[in-house]
Structure formats: structure tokens, C-alpha cells
């Protein structure tokens, strides 16, 4: 039973446009959420996080939105750049442990 779901295996976006990656979770005990970016043959790299007491966190081109009532979070990348092409993992955490989604492969086309 997947506690963290990323229902879109892939997403293709034009350079300069917005990329929106979605994530749903089932366990209301999760109290923080993170997004990681992964290039081939590398480990996941931390991108941005949000605590369950917030509904938005912004860092440059990256914004994460959290809707606790819907158990849904999303990552917005504006504007998208070709270097953003990677696999993005959503992770939900509780007491120091993380549960990961399966990832969404983002392709940003020039």
C-alpha cells in the first residue's frame, strides 16, 4: 500500500513555461515533506521542503504548495529550464523517517 503517490510517471514541458509536479499522501501523521531531484547515476539531491504547519514555501524558481485537507502537495518550477530535466521524488516524513514516491521524470524541451 503506497503511502506516497506520484501518479504521473513523466511530464514534458517547454522551456520557459511552468512545470507542475504533483504528489498525494495517505498518512495524516506525516509532518514534513521534501522534494528531491535525481540525475542519472547520481544520488537524490535535496531541492525544497515544507513543514505541515505551512501551506507554501518558495526558493527561487521553486515553490512547494501543501494542501493538508486534500493530502496533496505540488512543486512548481517557473520558468522551467532544460537543466531541470531529471526525475523528481516527493518524500513525506515523520519522526526522522522518509517515505518516497516513485518519481516523476521531467523533460524540459528547448
Amino acid at each position: 500500500d503506497q503511502q506516497v503517490k506520484q501518479n504521473s510517471p513523466s511530464l514534458s514541458v517547454q522551456e520557459g513555461r511552468i512545470s507542475i509536479l504533483n504528489c498525494d499522501y495517505t498518512n495524516s501523521m506525516f509532518d514534513y515533506f521534501l522534494w528531491y531531484k535525481k540525475y542519472p547515476a547520481e544520488g537524490p539531491t535535496f531541492l525544497i521542503s515544507i513543514s505541515s504547519i505551512k501551506d507554501k514555501n518558495e526558493d527561487g524558481r521553486f515553490t512547494v504548495f501543501l494542501n493538508k485537507s486534500a493530502k496533496h502537495l505540488s512543486l512548481h518550477i517557473v520558468p522551467s529550464q532544460p537543466g531541470d530535466s531529471a526525475v523528481y521524488f516527493c518524500a513525506a516524513g515523520y519522526q526522522g523517517n522518509l517515505i518516497f514516491g516513485k518519481g516523476t521524470k521531467l523533460s524540459v524541451k528547448p
Binding site: 547520481e42 544520488g43 535535496f46 521524488f89 516524513g93 516513485k102 518519481g103
Partner: protein, 112 residues
Amino acid sequence: EAGVAQSPRYKIIEKRQSVAFWCNPISGHATLYWYQQILGQGPKLLIQFQNNGVVDDSQLPKDRFSAERLKGVDSTLKIQPAKLEDSAVYLCASRLSTDTQYFGPGTRLTVL
């Protein structure tokens, strides 16, 4: 600040052989994790250490997998004997006091 180091980066073995992976976390990080990532999946926790003690090993297949962090710094993960389904990337991560875990580059294991 140096990141999480892992070795080897790649390993190919035959089934029933044994293999060991090494991880050196970010300096000062008390919490260390080992994850298994199968192709097309997200990382799955195998074991969590706090200093040299095990916090959570509920998902570690203890009949064949073992891990240790004797001095509370670097750690080794061993598989003995390996099965075909153990083919995966083994990721090590460490954490200080915030919720963010920082990952190493991983070891890609292929079991033939």
C-alpha cells in the same frame, strides 16, 4: 563541506556471492540511513542508525542483509548470499538535526 561518500560505485556479482558497501556520512551527522532503490521505484528504507545504535531495521531482510556502524561514523552494508532480486542501487543518507536527509551517489549492484 564534503558530502556523503559511498564506495564502490558499481558492483557486479553472481547470485549466492557476498558483497559489502561502504558509506561515510557528512561530518557530524549522527543519523545515517541505508536505502534500496529498485529501478522505477523510489528509495525504500532498509535501516536507520543514530550514532552507533540501530533505530529502525524493520524492513531489513535480516536473513541475508546486515549493517553496522561500529564507531558511529562510517557504516557498511553487507548482503550474503545475494539473490537476483537484490539488483538495485543502494543509497546512503545522513541527517544532522533538521528533517533533511542528504544522499550519497549510491552503489549500483547487479546480481547475475
